[in-house]
């Protein structure tokens, strides 16, 4: 029984530091830490899509990998259906691990490199059946055809090889492979970024359809705010390993509060000549995540920063129902 009030996934105080070594040949010494993910907290409910948006290197992909234990967290908790996922992955029995692996799947940015060119589509999609042994072999064919249909491909595609497909079709194959183990939760990391503009809508619509049909939950990772708005019910904005703002999609896009979120949104060009941009230019570039800035990590680029911002780390404060912001002066922007 799943308690309705309990989120499907809970991430608590999750941290990942990567050690940085000195260049010495004999003695490798740790000289610093990449603060890739730094004490983040969030939850995802059943049948919900949560967007994680931020610029390159801010820690989005690492967050996804930590949830799936593809990277080992430095500290923190990941609860899936209320149970400790990190413990299951690290200490659980083979069967427990496999079960959890089936429940949580990941779809990657590049559908070109994530498919083995020597395998047919049938072999690619049925491979999880071999690994997980959750489908008996006389049912494989029927299941593969069903999955192909679900992602908008035809039965005859099963006998073909990845190179015979366009980028969009390959991403469909990747999604079918992820669905082969009947997951309840999918982490989609930039699933449309490498696709052509006219193909992106096909995949975004497919992801949304699958939610309606199968009750899927998603963590949708992207640097593209427009697609995040399109697909998510809730959105988290990440900067240098931290979540700086999180809210329902409507609130975040209608009333962004954090100065970083506001600058980010002002920088997105809108395909409408009547709506000219009013760019809030941020000075400089994102600082290094090795020894990130003190206090509020955004302070060196923030036009509102005071000495308090460089000294004290702001906490994620609630500014409205379902709206959290990490900024000392958020009340100015509400």
């Amino acid at each position: 029984m799943i308690d309705m009030a309990q989120p499907l996934l809970e991430v608590k105080d999750l941290v990942k530091y990567f050690p940085v070594y000195s260049r010495g040949i004999l003695m490798k010494k740790v000289v610093g830490q990449v603060h890739a993910v730094d004490h983040i907290n969030f939850a995802i409910n059943e049948c919900e899509t949560v967007g994680l948006v931020g610029e390159s290197g801010c820690g989005k992909t690492t967050t996804g990998k930590l949830i799936l234990y593809l990277e080992r967290p430095t500290s923190g908790e990941v609860l899936f259906q209320g149970r400790d996922a990190i413990k299951t992955f690290s200490k659980g029995s083979g069967e427990e691990k496999m079960r959890l692996r089936r429940a949580m799947q990941m779809v990657f940015q590049n559908p070109y490199s994530s498919l083995d060119p020597r395998m047919t589509v049938f072999d690619i999609i049925s491979e999880p059946f071999k690994i997980h042994k959750h489908v008996s072999s006389n049912e494989w064919k029927e299941r593969v055809y069903k999955l192909l249909e679900l992602v908008g491909l035809e039965p005859y595609h099963a006998e073909r090889y990845p190179h015979e497909f366009s980028g969009g079709q390959r991403q469909r194959i990747c999604i079918a492979r992820a669905l082969a183990v009947n997951p309840t939760f999918i982490i989609a990391d930039e699933p449309v970024s490498s696709l052509d503009v006219s193909i992106r809508a096909q995949i975004l619509n497919l992801i949304m359809d699958l939610q309606n049909k199968l009750g899927m939950s998603y963590l949708y990772i992207s640097h593209d705010l427009s697609s995040v708005r399109q697909i998510s019910q809730r959105v988290m904005v990440m900067y240098l390993g931290e979540i700086v703002e999180s809210a329902t999609t409507e609130k975040l896009f209608d009333r962004p509060v954090h100065p970083y979120t506001r600058a980010l949104m002002s920088a997105v060009p809108i395909p409408d000549p009547k709506r000219k941009m009013n760019i809030i230019l941020l000075p400089g570039e994102v600082p290094s995540p090795v020894n990130p800035p003190s206090g509020c990590r955004f302070h060196p680029r923030c036009q509102y920063a005071t000495s308090k911002c460089s000294q004290e780390k702001p906490v994620l404060a609630q500014v409205d129902v379902d709206h959290y912001v990490s900024c000392h002066y958020y009340h100015k922007f509400i």
Binding site: P271, L281, L282
Partner: protein
């Protein structure tokens, strides 16, 4: 006045797998002092158009037809020697990928100064002065200190500023910017867009902005040329194109998510055509919701439909009545 007038340009690539018809019939004009958007998806022919104008189409590509008039002069009739003097000086290009277009083995100062020395036959210090001046124009922080540094020491955004400076070194009249922000983060993209807009205004330069992003076009450009599979679908000024778009442009605008609204996305069915074996008739017909028999049979001509709006579509006029 048109600084550039491209007429029926045809550039093919003669590969082992077959002839790739990268540009089949490209015609458009660029007004002096304007920013014109050249938009299309990958493979539509944007970069090959710029390469053709500069006559730097890589092998096995070849310009096999058409005219390219720059200030009235036919570039395709020029000798290669004369063309060399033209490149960088009259027409310049910011390459699509800043990382691979800078030479990793040479310091920034040296590789940029070389361009000035070769073209203007000046001494090295004079060339370096010009380099510093241009790096300042491109708003690279600390240009003097940067001269001795190598490309890998710069971030993506800074590399792009260096590439912009390199393209501006010889004060060109016409600048092609090939997807200058594609691999950059959105806040860095905003810096580069602002820079290019300011440069265009302050230097009175003509800018052809190559992009797949209709948002960038709407923001920066006065006129647009929409490409699809080696054909011009339409060209005209930005307001007209957003108001009375070609079926392809219309479909594209309905398929892209927008920051300012949540709406149902209408996806465009099918895939981008294979240019070795492109569709018959209108190249867009297999994916067009309005396609009828004639669209399969006959290539629609590029028609002047008034108000400097050019359209390649059998049904556009008729569809305007119903919209």
């Amino acid at each position: 006045m048109n600084i550039l007038d491209v007429q029926n340009l045809k550039t093919h690539f003669f590969t082992e797998a077959g002839v790739v018809k990268a540009l089949e019939d490209i015609s458009f004009t660029v007004e002096k002092g304007c920013t014109v958007g050249l938009v299309g998806e990958s493979g539509s022919g944007k970069s090959v158009t710029a390469q053709s104008v500069l006559r730097i189409v890589p092998k096995p590509g070849k310009i096999i037809g058409g005219k390219i008039l720059f200030d009235g002069e036919d570039l395709l009739a020029k000798k290669e020697d004369d063309m060399r003097k033209f490149r960088g000086k009259k027409i310049s290009l910011i390459f699509q990928d800043p990382t691979s277009s800078l030479n990793p083995l040479f310091a920034i100062g040296d590789q940029l100064a070389d361009i000035v020395i070769q073209h203007d036959r000046v001494k090295k210090d004079q060339a370096l002065e010009q380099v510093i001046k241009t790096l300042k124009v491109a708003r690279l922080p600390d240009p003097e200190q940067s001269l001795g540094q190598y490309p890998h020491q710069f971030s993506g955004g800074m590399k792009q500023r260096i590439c912009i400076a390199r393209a501006l070194l010889l004060n060109p009249q016409l600048l092609f910017a090939d997807e200058p922000t594609t691999n950059l983060d959105v806040t860095i993209q905003a810096q580069i867009i602002t820079l290019l807009k300011d440069l265009q205004r302050d230097l009175g330069m003509t800018l052809v902005m190559i992009t797949h992003d209709m948002g960038i076009v709407a923001e920066m450009c006065k006129c647009v040329v929409v490409l699809y599979a080696g054909h011009v679908m339409e060209s005209g000024d930005i307001e007209t194109i957003f108001e009375k778009p070609h079926p392809y442009t219309e479909a594209l605008l309905k398929a892209v998510p927008r920051l300012d609204q949540t709406r149902k996305l209408t996806s465009i069915p099918g895939n981008i055509p294979n240019l070795i074996d492109p569709p018959s008739g209108c190249v867009f017909h297999p994916r067009c919701q309005y396609a009828i028999n004639i669209c399969m049979e006959k290539v629609p001509p590029l028609e002047d439909v008034g108000g400097s709006h050019f359209i390649t579509c059998h049904r556009w006029r008729e569809l305007q009545g119903g919209r």
